[in-house]
Amino acid sequence: MPSLLVIIPLLAVLLLNLPLNFLRRLALPAAVLFAVYQALFAMQLLPASCTACPTHERWFVNVLDPLTSVLLLAIAVVAFASVFVLHATASDEKHGFNAFNLIFLAVAGMNGLVMVRDLFSMYIFLEIASVASFILIAAQRDMGGLEGAFKYLVMSALATMMMLASIALLLAYCGSTSFMVVAEALHAHGSHGYLLTAVGLFLGGLLIKSGIMPFHGWLPDAYAAAPAAASTLIAGIVTKTTGVYALIRLVLHVFGPSVAVQQLLLIFGAISVVAGALAALGQSDMKRMLAYSSISQVGYIVMGLGVAGAANKFAAELGVAGAIFHLFNHAIFKTLLFVNAAAVEKQAGTRDMNQLGGLAQKMPITGLTSLLAMFATAGVPPLAGFWSKLLIIAALWLAGYHGYALLGIGASLLTLAYFLSLQRRVFFGLLRAGCENVREAGWALTVPSLVLAAILLGVGVALPWLIGSFLLPVKGF
């Protein structure tokens, strides 16, 4: 029963907070167990293994499609990694326990978000994940964290306003907020200015949530200032579900990829891809660089989505499949990078790349998995990121957007450039004075690193199998 994925975390939060001391120690095992359960549940639903997916049930009147199951899987993996990071980095038991509860809540919110088929319900679950994230970012009550949370909060409020206004307009016109009804109405009278305004408002809100340039102002501060576990969760999956997933879902199934929407997505995607990479190139804070890299990578996803309505059907399918695949891959490698950033920060005491160097000798697992994740992000074969970028660029080319395709390839070089600079300044080269006593991080950080790295490699190598059984069916038409 899919709604368990929302109810279990809710019950878990209630149970763990019963006034019994030993329950607090169960938070990590409970979270890990739940993540594993969710991953298994999601894999059952993947197109390769699912012939007749369960559809209707009492609470959620919805259809679990492959797109949802991919997202559920990604949420499970990232949640798995972030609870480990939390366990390793929490300053004391109380802080850690509070953050556990918030992660549970955020996961419940995201699970609900990817399962609902109603604009207003979507909005509510989106808010749950966001509110939990605000608190997670500010949880240390340090200056940076509060600033990041505040920026995220204010920009999110703006997004909320836009989305609610859009929902109100659509509700007043269509009489319902369910995807089906709204999609039908838009299909019939979509060119009317009133409805277009509604669509534009919703798109604007989602673009803020996904951190697409120029709607991204909150993102670098929020990612960089958040505590390690929070940034892992938020960068890895929260913005991906609240922003990017919602965008994909609505563009494909509700608003429809009209020519104008496609053009917008392509333009904003291209701006993000290039400007994000350029900004990342000049950063000296490891997490801030990763944050700008996120903007750039999300740009790729949005560009892939931008060919969803292309006249060339094959290109359209490739583009959507590539966007979803890249969304999944991005969740994995960005989480891995944030886990490793947490490891570096914990062991070396700083994230400033000018004060680090040569850590690969001292932290071999972290160094190696980082290299892998960076190659995956930059699109080096045969890692997972290569294939998804290839699909997106091929789709752009086939759909006739040759300029955008070349831009994508060029930005890949930039990606490689800033990541190699990161790798060189942090992990390679001579051991920096002051780093002599650094040791490899504990199991709680290396285990998720290794698991995520294995997924990256596995997905890359298994691609020939995935492409037929998983990628093309997932396209969501």
């Binding site: 109810i7 809540l105 319900s121 679950f125 808010e127 749950i128 608190i135 949880a139 909060l153 009278h189």
Partner: protein, 168 residues
Amino acid sequence: MDPNLKTELLANVILMAAMLLGGLATVMLRQLVKAAIALAFTSVVLCILMFKLAAPWAAVFELSVCAGLITVVFISAISLVKPATEEERAAHMRFKVRRYFLLPLVLLTVGCGLSYMTVRPLPVVAGAELITDMRILLWGPRALDLLGQILVLLAGVWGVVVLFKEEK
């Protein structure tokens, strides 16, 4: 007009006016703490409005998150802020015009422009007129959103716990 309805309408208008005043006060007040409290007041009025519109869950949601949590976040952020120097005050005054009068003006212009572009007779969607009561539409078949409300409440509780509770 039915006097009952008339009273009701009057009450609604008063509440909405209070809400608007509260919002305006929030942006206009110089002291941040007062501004935050004004915001909380706005939220409370909105909450009452929601109760009156037969949307108790939305009201609870509004009360907990907006009036409770966000005020908390604001106040804890404010507690970290230093008082402004004379210079900053002067600079603030200079930009005040642009910020508080230009912004609404721009928004108004844009809104007018947009509505000019969008004004065209709307085609009617079949079935839309069947639903007469928006309250039923919003809160009737929405068992699912209850779950969401509970989750948001819990998130709010943790916001208070994490951000507001003083360490010993």
